[in-house]
Every structure is written in structure tokens, then in C-alpha cells.
């Protein structure tokens, strides 16, 4: 039994301890991230928490110069852009995350297919530190 429940907020509780969790359908074997109580493929209501390895590759990305309010609070702007992308995880599903350690001055040099490893990033928002999912090159 995993220490994490299937309810939504558990995904973020897991992140705080550096764990990446999703779910596995006990009927058809479909793996999902974030975790689902109802399998999106076969509608089974029998699923359990699945631990992800945190390994994957970059599938799509962008380098953002005009950030939303919270990213601006965390210090990002046109002079300090950031990369966000979609990561194809080794287990199959994809997830959105900030991508660290990329050459932000040359976005065209960022390679789709780059092997990535999960990490977390702390961002300060409204005076509090929050933990977010991120990936960096292996």
C-alpha cells in the first residue's frame, strides 16, 4: 500500500517529499499521471497509486518571456525567461513541468528528445515558498 491516497491533493503532498506519483488501473493496466480514481481508458473504478521513476524525455517546450503573475513574483521576466515543457515519462504518460538548466538565450538549440530527470523547484509566491515539479537534463 502506498502512503498516498488517490485524492487530488496527494499529488502535491508527494512532490514535497520528492515523490512523483500517478495511478495504475487494476483492470486494464493503464498508467495515469496525476493519479485517477476512475480509469480514463476502461472506466474501471479500481485503481491504485503508482510510483513514477521521474525519468523521461522532452516532448515539447517553450521559453517564456511574458510570465503570469505568480511566475513574475518568483522573479521571471523578459530579461530572465524560463523554460516550460511537456515531458514524456518512461512509464508512458506525459506531464507539464518547468524545465531547468536549458540554454534560454538560444531556445532553438533546446532539443526535443533530451533525456530528463525529475526534480522539484521552490518558488516564492505571496511570501510563501511552494514546491513545484521540475525536470533537468540527465
Amino acid at each position: 500500500m502506498s502512503e498516498f491516497a488517490l485524492t487530488n491533493k496527494e499529488f502535491f503532498r508527494a512532490l514535497e517529499t520528492g515523490d512523483l506519483i500517478g495511478s495504475k488501473c487494476l483492470d486494464c493496466g493503464e498508467v495515469s499521471i496525476p493519479q485517477r480514481e476512475i480509469c480514463p481508458v476502461c472506466f474501471s473504478q479500481k485503481t491504485e497509486i503508482e510510483s513514477f521513476s521521474g525519468k523521461g524525455e522532452l516532448v515539447a517546450y517553450t521559453v517564456i518571456s511574458v510570465p503570469p503573475v505568480k511566475m513574475a513574483q518568483a522573479g521571471y521576466d523578459g530579461k530572465n525567461p524560463y523554460c516550460v515543457g511537456i515531458v514524456g515519462l518512461d512509464e508512458g504518460p506525459r506531464i507539464s513541468a518547468q524545465i531547468l538548466d536549458m540554454d534560454l538565450a538560444h531556445p532553438e538549440s533546446i532539443k526535443i528528445g533530451t533525456e530528463l530527470q525529475m526534480t522539484t523547484i521552490q518558488r516564492e509566491e505571496d511570501g510563501t515558498q511552494n514546491t513545484y515539479l521540475a525536470f533537468k537534463p540527465v
Binding site: A60, I64, V69, P81, I95, S96
Partner: protein
């Protein structure tokens, strides 16, 4: 062969819109009145408002933009239409077309004969960061926005996947912007009344006037490729790849097919309609197209008994330049991976084989999000009636298609309209 399951047909007997732009001195009520007056002006028979039985309003978020929820009955009352049924419909940037489709379904069911559809958004009263925040609520605010995504970011990510998959030239995105600004410059309702060339020359003149060195841009592409002229928003989406923040309203009147001639000598008919949904970007089967758009398009084609080659013009949801290229493939105008080449070869221009966004599209006409899906019908109405002025298509178009997307593709509505002689 048409395969409509609707109990009866639906016709459009008029369409109109306010000017799109930034109007600090106007409120939503002013814009809705302006659109309603334009609808009346575009109808060939006078409209008796007492005949209107229901009002559907496509509006994404007046609660965030104007701190006004529950807007449909207020606006119905403002037009003197109380106590008819008044409903606000929300599916992000697809709200307008969803409102049209819901109104059409209500007529097809037999519940109503005459329905007014409005689309509205008043976005420019907020600071740009608040607008970005408000638009962000159309995405998955738990798993996408905290990652750092913005709307330009979603489409930019799809653009990188598209460029990688098809080895596409980034300049093809700029060609979409150049074409849509050319069309928009011929549309007196458009937010931007200038071509990219005119914008470029104006910027050069401004630099000289301010005593700065004159930029050396000789072509539109040189200008668009220079971050000093065209800054990055979310690479590879630059400022000129993005539709603007806009205020505006649009209106159209739908009636049952059997009543159409009582309202207009030249109605157009809604002969195909489809709608589909999807999850957030990482959940999609592909990132190089919008699956919900392809599915909605297939439904609409099947209902109408038509294929992509039967479409004379399409107003597609070009919230970003890459979105128009993907739409041109999702709707079947070009094979997968060929849309970017078609854009570069001028195949989507007014004189091309598949004219797209003759109105200027969201890119140049403006994108008051809830109004966009309804304003697309205004262009179809004008083109099918041969009253689109300088941007009129030469070959007397008969079939027009609209493609309206919500979010990064979580909702898509495709409608097909026909002129019958």
C-alpha cells in the same frame, strides 16, 4: 448526402458586430448595442425584436474581466427583450460558437423558432498581467498553470512539437500573420487596420522622429525576425504571432428553416455542426494538431454531407499563428505536415485554393474571446452575400466554415453554412 439528426433545419438571417479594439470609454452594454444595431443593418428585412424568443450569450468571463456575472438577463433587458429566456454559455474562447450551437439545437428541437445569439468580451479594462491570469483560468489551473504555462506558451509548445515532427520553417508562422494583417487591413471592424508593412514603416518613422537610428528592416520577414521589432512572448511565439487583447461584441439571429424567408430574402443555412472536447495538453494523443478540432470537423462534414474540398472559405481560430496552420490540417484542407508549406505558398490567401480568415482572423480583427466565435459568422455572412467589400472572394462563395477553439483545444466547435440560390 446530408446525415442530419436534427428534427428541423436552422437558418441564419443576419449577423453583425461592433468594431473590435480597446475601448476604455465604452462598456459591454455599449458594445452589445453596437453589435445589435449592426445586425439590424445587415438584415434585408426589418427585425421585430418581439419575435425573439430566447437569447444565448457566449461570454468567457465577464466575472473576472468586469466583476459582472449573470450577464445574459442583464443584457437581454438592456435590449428590451425581457422576459425571454436568457442564458450565458461558457467554454472559454469557444463560448461564441458553443452559444450558436446551443441556440441551433434549441431551434432544431422545436422549443424555439427565433433565437438571438450574442458573443461578448470586454478585456482591456484590466492590467495585462491580470488579463493573462484571467485567461489562464481556461487552462488546467492545477497541473498546467503551476508548471509555468501561459496561453502563448501552450501554442508555442505545440509549435515546437510541430516544427520537430515536420521540419517546419518558423517563417511559415510569420506568413500567417502577414496574410491575416493584409486581410484585416481591409476590414473596417478590425482592431488592426494596418498591414505588417505599414506597421513596420510606422515603427521606422517613429524611431527617426525620436532621434534613434532608423531600423534597417527591408522586408516584413526581416522585421518579424528582429526581437527589437517583434519581441519574444513564448518562443517560438513572438508578439506578432499572438492575437491581441480586445473588447468587442457580435450578434447573429437564428430561426427555424421554414421561417427563414419571413426574416430574410437571402438566409444562409447551418447545414453542419460538430463539437468535441479534450483533456489538458499532456493527455492528448498528439501535440501537432488539435484532436477535438479534427473530431468536430468530421462531425460537421458528415452532417452536411461535404468534405474539406467543398468549403469555399474558412474562418478559423488563429489565436496564435501556429493555431491556423494546425487548423488547416485538422479540418482536412491540407495533409498532415503540409499546412506550414501551404501558408508559405499562399494557398490560404484570398486568391489561394483554401482561403482562410479573410476577415483578418483573431490575429488582426481582434480576439474578444467570447465574441470571436460569433464574429466568424459575420464574415461568413458577408462573404456568402458578396458584401465583403475589398476583401470579397472573387468566385461567389457558397459554403463557409467556422472553427472556434476553447483553451488550448479542450473545446472545439465547427459549423458549416450554405448559401442557396
Amino acid at each position: 448526402m446530408s446525415k442530419s439528426k436534427w428534427s428541423r433545419g436552422v437558418a441564419i438571417v443576419g449577423a453583425g458586430m461592433s468594431k473590435f479594439g480597446a475601448f476604455p470609454d465604452k462598456t459591454s452594454r455599449d458594445l452589445v448595442v453596437e453589435a445589435f444595431k449592426d445586425l439590424n443593418k445587415n438584415m434585408d428585412k426589418p427585425l421585430d425584436p418581439k419575435k425573439i424568443e430566447a437569447f444565448y450569450l457566449g461570454n468567457f468571463s465577464s466575472d473576472q474581466f468586469e466583476k459582472q456575472a449573470h450577464f445574459a438577463p442583464i443584457l437581454a433587458s438592456w435590449l428590451g427583450l425581457s422576459p425571454i429566456s436568457a442564458i450565458r454559455v461558457e467554454d472559454a474562447c469557444a463560448s461564441g460558437a458553443v452559444a450558436i450551437r446551443q441556440a441551433a439545437l434549441a431551434i432544431a428541437s422545436g422549443e424555439y423558432d427565433v433565437v438571438l445569439v450574442g458573443g461578448l468580451e470586454k478585456m482591456t479594462d484590466l492590467h495585462i498581467s491580470e488579463v493573462t491570469e484571467a485567461l489562464g483560468t481556461a487552462a488546467d489551473t492545477q497541473f498546467e498553470i503551476p508548471a509555468g504555462f501561459t496561453f502563448p506558451g501552450f501554442y508555442a509548445a505545440m509549435a515546437t512539437a510541430y516544427m520537430h515532427e515536420y521540419d517546419a520553417d518558423r517563417n511559415s508562422f510569420f506568413d500567417v500573420a502577414i496574410k491575416n494583417h493584409k486581410n484585416g487591413a481591409l476590414n473596417d471592424k478590425a482592431q488592426f487596420d494596418q498591414t505588417i508593412e505599414q506597421i513596420r514603416e510606422a515603427k521606422k518613422a517613429r524611431a527617426v522622429k525620436k532621434g534613434r537610428p532608423e531600423p534597417t528592416w527591408k522586408t516584413d520577414l526581416e522585421f518579424l525576425q528582429d526581437p527589437k521589432g517583434n519581441p519574444n512572448i513564448a518562443w517560438p511565439m513572438t508578439l506578432f504571432d499572438c492575437s491581441p487583447v480586445s473588447d468587442g461584441a457580435a450578434m447573429t439571429l437564428l430561426v427555424s428553416e421554414d421561417l427563414a424567408k419571413a426574416f430574410s430574402d437571402s438566409p444562409i443555412y447551418l447545414i453542419g455542426s460538430g463539437q468535441a472536447s479534450d483533456g489538458a495538453l499532456p493527455e492528448r494523443e498528439t501535440l501537432t494538431g488539435i484532436p477535438a478540432a479534427e473530431k468536430a470537423g468530421q462531425q460537421a462534414y458528415e452532417m452536411a454531407g461535404l468534405t474539406a474540398d467543398d468549403i469555399d472559405l474558412a474562418e478559423v481560430h488563429d489565436c496564435f499563428t501556429i493555431a491556423e496552420i494546425m487548423a488547416s490540417e485538422d479540418l482536412g484542407f491540407f495533409p498532415r505536415g503540409e499546412g506550414w508549406k501551404a501558408a508559405m505558398e499562399g494557398k490560404t490567401a484570398r486568391d489561394g485554393e483554401h482561403p482562410i480568415n479573410t476577415s483578418g482572423g483573431l490575429k488582426a480583427k481582434g480576439h474578444p474571446v467570447g465574441a470571436s466565435g460569433v464574429a466568424q459568422v459575420v464574415e461568413v455572412w458577408k462573404q456568402l452575400h458578396g458584401i465583403a467589400g475589398e476583401r470579397q472572394l472573387p468566385k461567389a462563395p457558397k459554403i463557409g466554415l467556422t472553427h472556434n477553439v476553447g483553451g488550448s483545444g479542450q473545446t472545439c466547435v465547427v459549423n458549416i453554412y450554405e448559401r442557396r440560390d
